[in-house]
């Protein structure tokens, strides 16, 4: 909300402070000022001059030479402006002065434009006459300014006076950010009340008196509200003999500063009152109201209504309508209808000041696809008491501005009016909540400024109706805090029962995952949780893959962000491809992020969120580098047993011969592999890439940070090497399973130390060699122990078609 400081000062006449002081103090008391702009920025040495004489320029057809009285002195100014004549009073910037912009009304230069005396085509010119654009404004806000040429004052200004002052530009416009709970502050009066309380100056409300004529409004109009829940109050007054004319300059200036274009007296008055009181009003041409009757009712499903902007709006039975005896004339609280709109030929006006159910207006504005200044205010739920004050203020202005004749009386239809909130005055409660020691008297002073009434006898506080945000003691405490000053509240630390700060086990495991990944050269990426349903095809998922069962967002930002991911690879592959296509070499990334697995679709309960530790890399690396990272991580979180790598993982997005599911103690905990080349193509990743995905919830039950020292072996180990010729189809994992199973208690370790395929070995076979370590904890092994264990192992291996080499 933008408002000129001069308008605020109209209600806080004793307010004196600099613009910056005003901004700081208002912000600290809760009316946040986003910024301010001085309207006279870069306007220097500009006075009202009167053109005494105009002559042609001797050397230029389009220029004229003017003698201009600037108050006690006449100066010569050469101009090309087409619209001036002798006797005109105009703004004149003198030699050494400044204007805000050029005459074409483009963006204003930061430092303005300096004006110096000089010669134009050989004729001396000692200043410049200004257009409204050069003064930093435009015809939207100064409709009386000519389309082209110099601004011309009315006759009432003094020659030699400060032209900037005369134009109402000695002012500052403040921009406020009003919080949604403070409906009352969406008005000049509301902000002025806050300003008065902030600076502890008297607050002076405009005195509203309407004379009204001897007629009765009831003879002109009747009002029937069929849905009082959606329309708690409807006030109507009538003005006749309307004379449409421009509104006075002071009103135009205030509206202009608020960003509202002045139009004519009638429109300007309704806009002015909306700004001043925060109460939107509507004016109907009474001659268009059939039966001179207003009916407030719901629309019917399927109705179509043309608003005054010429658009047809689709309605339903939740939209509240203002109707006459025959037809709908406006959408309540949003916009009037074309059929009843005010034209310049209007003679009798029906003013409406009503309040509507905020939530309903908000919904209706969405339904009809139209959010207006009025609906923006109504949807916050306005104070029904304010409607009466506002309509009377509008009628007062009609009379004062000579815009028409106000018919006596007001039609006022309302249900039971909400009672004022009354709370016991509990100073201790407020101090206890705030941690302060504010005196009772200080609190009462604050309440007085914000019009909260204190009843000494009852010990109660009565909240004014415009403060709809004050309902409980904590709201009162906030008022005390705001005007006592947040900055004066002490700073302490909670001193209750001691608590232990901690990171839960899952997060500690995630922290370890980050440490290990980074130790292994992986940097952390972050990817979105939602992605495109096209991802499944990019990853070659089969039509019946359960991963295709994804949660769909009802109102996504677009298809690309419309489903919650069920596989964490899309983000990883996209990030790898981004890096690859930016020519980054040897990239290793990891991510810790959730996948979202619905229990049923459509969703009836919350999905399962599973934290995935995803690793991806390309460049100088292979499958076994990735496997190494997985094992480093497992060891770091206490998974000391050997994981099983099952090549029959069946994942379409991975290389069919280079993928494995990872099982730990018979439980699936993740998978790894080389990315399928077709998937790489789909991601525009023109290199081999490797990924691993570890399912943190599956790993957690096995993870531990407990460690136990098992002693350093006291007895010697016995080493045996075996060398084998193995069918290619037999995997190392199978051989190791035999060794582990048959090695017995004395088996300590086994390591593959050589593997070879090639010309030395017969077709379809490979040579492999293992080193096996035996050791007993309690004795030195006998030859017989080892021989027996080895025999069992060798027997097992021979059963797999393995030949032992000598």
């Amino acid at each position: 909300m933008n408002t000129a400081l001069s308008w605020i000062k109209a209600y806080v006449p004793e307010l004196t402070c600099t613009d910056q002081e005003y901004m700081d103090a208002m912000t600290l008391s809760g009316t946040k000022v986003e910024g301010y702009a001085r309207l006279d920025k870069n306007l220097e040495k500009i006075v009202v001059g009167q053109i005494k004489k105009i002559e042609k320029h001797p050397d230029a057809d389009k220029l004229i030479v003017c003698q201009v009285d600037i108050g006690g002195e006449v100066i010569q100014i050469v101009t090309g402006a087409p619209n001036v004549k002798e006797g005109d009073k105009v703004p004149v910037v003198l030699d050494g002065g400044k204007v805000a912009g050029g005459h074409d009304g483009g963006p204003l230069p930061e430092d303005g434009i300096s004006i110096k005396a000089g010669k134009l085509r050989g004729v001396p010119s000692n200043g410049m006459m200004c257009s409204i654009e050069e003064l930093g404004s435009d015809r939207n806000f100064y409709p009386e300014a000519p389309e082209m040429g110099i601004y011309i004052f009315g006759d009432d200004v003094q020659v030699g006076a400060d032209a900037v002052e005369e134009l109402g530009l000695r002012d500052t416009v403040f921009e406020y950010e009003v919080t949604s709970n403070r409906v009352d502050c969406y008005s000049v009066i509301g902000i002025a009340r806050e300003a008065a309380a902030t600076f502890r100056k008297p607050f002076v409300l405009p005195e509203v008196t309407v004379k009204g004529n001897d007629e009765k409004v009831e003879d002109y109009i009747s009002v029937e509200v069929q849905d009082k829940e959606l329309c708690p109050r409807y006030c109507a007054r009538v003005c006749k003999n309307i004379k449409i004319a421009p509104s006075p300059k002071w009103m135009q200036r205030r509206l202009a500063a608020s960003g509202i274009r002045p139009i004519n007296n009638l429109v300007d008055i309704t806009n002015y009152v909306m700004e001043e009181y925060g109460q939107p009003m509507h004016a109907f041409d009474l001659d268009t109201i059939a039966g001179h009757k207003i009916i407030v009712r719901r629309a019917k499903d399927g109705d179509v209504f043309r608003t005054l902007d010429g658009q047809d709006r689709n309605l339903d039975s939740d939209v509240l309508m203002i109707c006459d005896a025959e037809k709908e004339v406006g959408i309540a609280g949003i916009m009037g209808g074309e059929n009843s709109m005010i034209t310049d030929s209007v003679t009798t006006v029906l003013f409406e000041a009503a309040t509507f159910n905020g939530a309903n207006i908000r919904k209706s504005a969405k339904r009809v696809g139209l959010r207006t200044d009025a609906s923006g205010k109504f949807e916050k739920g306005l104070d029904p008491y304010n409607a009466e004050a506002a309509i009377n203020r509008a009628c007062q202005l009609i009379e004062e501005l000579g815009c028409g004749e106000v018919v006596g009386g007001m039609v006022d239809v309302h249900g039971e009016m909400k009672e004022k909130v009354v709370l016991p005055f509990e100073p201790e409660h407020y101090n206890k909540l705030l941690g302060t020691d504010v005196s009772e008297q200080e609190m009462l002073n604050i309440f007085k400024m914000i019009e909260v009434e204190y009843d000494v006898a009852k010990g109660t506080l009565t909240v004014p109706t415009f403060r709809q945000d004050i309902l409980r003691q904590c709201d009162i405490a906030e008022e005390v805090a705001r005007f006592y000053g947040y900055d004066k509240i002490p700073t302490t630390l909670p001193n209750g029962e001691a608590t232990t700060g901690k990171l839960p086990f899952k997060l500690r495991i995630e922290q370890k995952a980050r440490d290990i990944a980074e130790y292994c050269g992986f940097s952390q990426g972050m990817c979105y949780s939602f992605e495109s349903p096209k991802v499944f095809d990019k990853l070659l998922l089969s039509a019946d893959d359960p991963a295709r069962q994804a949660i769909t967002i009802a109102n996504p930002l677009g298809e690309d962000f419309s489903i919650m991911r069920t596989v964490p690879l899309h983000g990883m592959l996209t990030s790898l491809a981004t890096n690859y296509n930016r020519r980054n070499k040897d990239v290793r990334l990891y991510e810790l992020g959730n996948i979202y697995l619905p229990k049923a679709l459509p969703l009836t309960e919350l999905p399962e969120e599973r934290m995935q530790f995803t690793l991806g890399m390309y460049g100088d690396c292979d499958f076994f580098d990735m496997k190494g990272v997985v094992e480093e991580f497992f060891e770091s979180i206490g998974l000391h047993k050997r994981a099983v790598y099952d090549p029959n993982a069946g994942r379409n997005y991975l290389h069919p011969g280079r993928q494995a599911n990872i099982e730990y103690e018979g439980t699936f905990v993740g998978y790894l592999g080389e990315v399928h080349p077709e998937v790489c193509d789909n991601y525009d990743l023109k290199t081999r890439a490797y990924v691993a995905v570890l399912d943190i919830p599956a790993i957690l039950p096995f993870a531990t940070f407990d460690r136990k020292y098992e002693g350093i072996a006291k007895y010697p180990a016995v080493l045996r090497d075996i060398s084998m010729v193995v069918p290619k189809t037999v995997m190392a994992g199978q051989i190791e399973a035999v060794i582990a199973q048959r090695g017995g208690k004395i088996l300590e370790d086994y390591q593959l130390f050589d593997i070879y395929e090639g010309s030395q070995i017969k077709e379809g076979f490979k040579s492999m060699a293992y080193s096996i370590t035996f050791r007993a904890k309690d004795r030195t092994l006998e030859e017989a122990d080892v021989t027996s264990a080895m025999k069992k192992i060798l027997n097992g291996l021979e059963g797999m078609g393995i030949e032992l080499r000598s």
Partner: protein
């Protein structure tokens, strides 16, 4: 005999002196001291010596042996040292050549900032907790004093899955889960992902992170809120950081505030970084609304509390001077490597 020994000794010392390699010294040792060496030969000829002279001769032989051994040992040491020094001289390297690093990866700036925040609050006795990303409307809105018709529901541009299930718009939802557990007092922070329907640009993302804080205990005051967050700001941004609390409005806290910190770039004088204001808005906070406590089964007459919410990306962007939020989700290694 004595002369003979003198001769042997003189010859041994001469040969030691003449040796220019360790092998040669070894030869000397064998020649004179070895089992078939000259001194051994002398001992062997003891049988020719008169019995009464034998101890004396024996002593003489031992003395000679000791003398030769000593000189020999010294020479060996000296020569070994010389050999080592010569070797060291050949082993000079260029220490300014590039290092061999285990190429470590880098943490995401969001995580670095998060771990900082976690460290500070864990130190103050807070527990880190988590809540679901996909959430019930009740926890995200209603239980936080944002009923169905509340305008704040519009302001937050919520992604809905069904009428009742949504992507949480704020980590404040975790407050409610913690309060419902019924275990008091509470001191928690809840970091997590939140979602709002904002188009991607330099300062917006439809998915970002918040850290929620909640303290509930007997006698918690607004002053405690101020003190705690001031401490937090000093820890995070430096000990000279000043804080400013401005009144604000959140449906689930009352009184509410926004906290600004003095610009850590210019110290509050005003610079381009803080847009000349000297202050930077950092978080929203307030005293937990009694109705929020009531809805979660906590008696507001017995307990009070404060809550706050910090944007993690906001902290990361400010602290590390990152000028475009999109960088945080592109995962370009050239960006990540700088953290």
């Amino acid at each position: 005999m004595k002369e003979k020994l003198e001769q042997i000794k003189a010859e041994a010392l001469r040969q030691i002196e003449a040796s220019d390699a360790l092998e040669k010294l070894n030869e000397v040792k064998v020649t004179f001291l070895g089992k078939k060496g000259e001194l051994t030969a002398v001992l062997k000829s003891m049988k020719d010596v008169a019995p009464e002279d034998r101890p004396k001769v024996g002593q003489l032989v031992n003395e000679t042996r000791a003398e030769i051994e000593k000189v020999l040992e010294d020479s060996v040491k000296k020569m070994e040292r010389a050999v080592r020094e010569a070797k060291l001289k050949t082993e000079v390297i260029d220490v300014t050549l590039p290092s061999k690093k285990n190429k470590m990866g880098h943490r995401h700036p969001n995580t670095i900032a998060l771990e900082e925040v976690e460290r500070i609050f864990i130190g103050m006795g807070y527990e880190v907790v988590e809540g679901p990303d996909v959430e019930k409307d009740y926890y995200n809105f209603e239980a936080l004093n944002i009923p169905a018709d509340h305008p704040a529901k519009d302001e937050q541009d919520t992604f809905y899955i069904t009428g009742d299930i949504l992507l949480r718009t704020q980590t404040s939802s975790t407050q409610v889960h913690e309060m419902e557990k019924g275990k008091l007092p509470i001191r928690m922070i809840a970091p997590g992902r939140v979602f709002r329907s904002d188009e991607v640009d330099a300062t917006h993302s439809p998915s970002f992170h918040q850290i929620e804080g909640l303290v509930i205990d007997r006698h918690i005051t607004f002053a405690d809120l101020k003190g705690t967050l001031a401490e937090f700001a000093r820890e995070l941004f430096g000990e000279n950081t000043k804080v400013k609390f401005r009144p604000h409005h959140f449906p689930f806290t009352e009184p509410s505030a926004e906290m600004d910190v003095s610009c850590f770039k210019c110290g509050g004088k005003g610079c381009r970084f803080c847009k000349g204001e000297g202050w930077i808005e950092i978080l929203g906070c307030g005293m937990v609304h009694p109705h929020v406590l009531e809805m979660s089964g906590i008696d507001p007459e017995q307990y009070t509390g404060f809550a706050f919410g910090v944007g993690l990306e906001r902290i990361a962007l400010l602290k590390y001077e990152i000028d475009d939020m999109r960088l945080l989700y592109e995962n370009d290694i050239r960006f990540l490597k700088q953290f």
